[in-house]
Symmetry: C3
Subunit: 170 residues, 3 copies
């Protein structure tokens, strides 16, 4: 039955639309679901590419024909985003701009006992977000060639960060 | 077997909770999964409604009783968000405010060889995000009546943008 | 066949990687899918913890071994985010900072007929986002111990807000 299902996929995939991919209806197929939790190495305050950490942690992505990758960070003072993966000055400019937009020691902060970098870290984390989702197509992340996954470390000494990586699809 | 599954859904759907919909447990049903990649027409710098582009590109949404729609943009200088779909001045005010909050030619930018609009475009893209997810209920996007999907074009001449649209559910 | 599937899960789960959980490949299992729409009570302008509202509204989360929770707000002047769940001053500082970063009565706003709090509410909603996704592992939200789900009410009198809660997985 599984083999029959696979044959069914191949037939469907050959039926391509002009200038677009289409998968479906594939309601006769069962879902694949993978999930892993990993510790990232400690990064300095700033924005860092972790695309390879993510991809290498879940090689089963290659088994998914059409699906989704979700990455979630289990912290409130670091965050995840997708941005330019080539020029390191982009990541430096992110750090500079977020420090302007969410300054330390603002006179209206009341939560200030954990250091000047603490409250801004919380705000930056919510602006950028605690998770991201990328489509999977034909066993690979279907992202733009200039897109990479950033760990955004907003604390001076954030230490190792835990992320949960989930991939699912058909 | 599929017909049996459909009968099973109908029985479940009739069991409605007071003031809420509930679908599940539906663990006897197989998943539907659809994915398509499309090119949007080139838009001017600013915020633009693309709800119809998205819905028309994946008419199979109507076959999903309970599920999720995910839209992902494969670029780092344009983004996606959900906001007010009626008054065009809201979209103009978004452009005005983001230009104030993430100015061009800030003295701390180092990544400035691709034009004054380039580095702010990257920052705006991460603030707003590269993807969005909307629930699907009874074959339609289950969004508020005032909610629309925006393409946020942050470059002066961004050109055509690629998006990946994925819908899945039961 | 379902029992056979369950035995299959248990065997897989016992095969744990060093310092990480892995679920999969579980392609022989069928998906679970739950969805419910609820009305939150009216909250004052500001940031409020709603983790328990969400969890209590979908107790079926406990039946999911590996999956995803998605929460979506059907409004354009309120939003959802994940942040610190312990010290109430963090939530007050969020309100203070967002009021600085997205001020009322900015001279460039054209959409100003619905009150001074209206246009800033739309902008804040898109900065923070209309939805969030959290992994589910072993029947619980797999979030950090300090992470809570916030309703971000950006209007002075927003009233009750509708959210759609979806959980799925194996």
């Amino acid at each position: 039955m599984i083999n029959h299902g696979s044959a069914h996929i191949s037939a469907r995939l050959r039926k391509m639309h002009r200038d677009s991919l289409i998968f479906g209806p594939l309601q006769y197929l069962l879902m694949k679901f993978y999930q892993r939790e990993i510790s990232l190495p400690a990064f300095a305050r700033g924005f860092h590419l972790i695309t390879r950490h993510v991809e290498n942690s879940l090689p089963e992505i290659k088994d998914i024909t059409a699906g989704q990758l979700h990455v979630f960070i289990k912290h409130t003072s670091a965050s995840l985003t997708i941005n330019e993966n080539a020029d390191p000055t982009v990541r430096k400019d992110f750090e500079s701009h977020f420090n302007e937009m969410v300054p330390e020691d603002a006179p209206y902060y009341r939560h200030n006992t954990e250091g000047s970098d603490d409250m801004p870290a919380h705000v930056k984390a919510s602006i950028l977000g605690s998770s991201l989702t990328v489509p999977i197509t034909n066993g690979e992340l279907n992202k733009g060639i200039w897109q990479g996954i950033y760990l955004c470390e907003h604390r001076n000494h954030g230490g190792s960060r835990e992320i949960v990586i989930t991939a699912f699809g058909i």
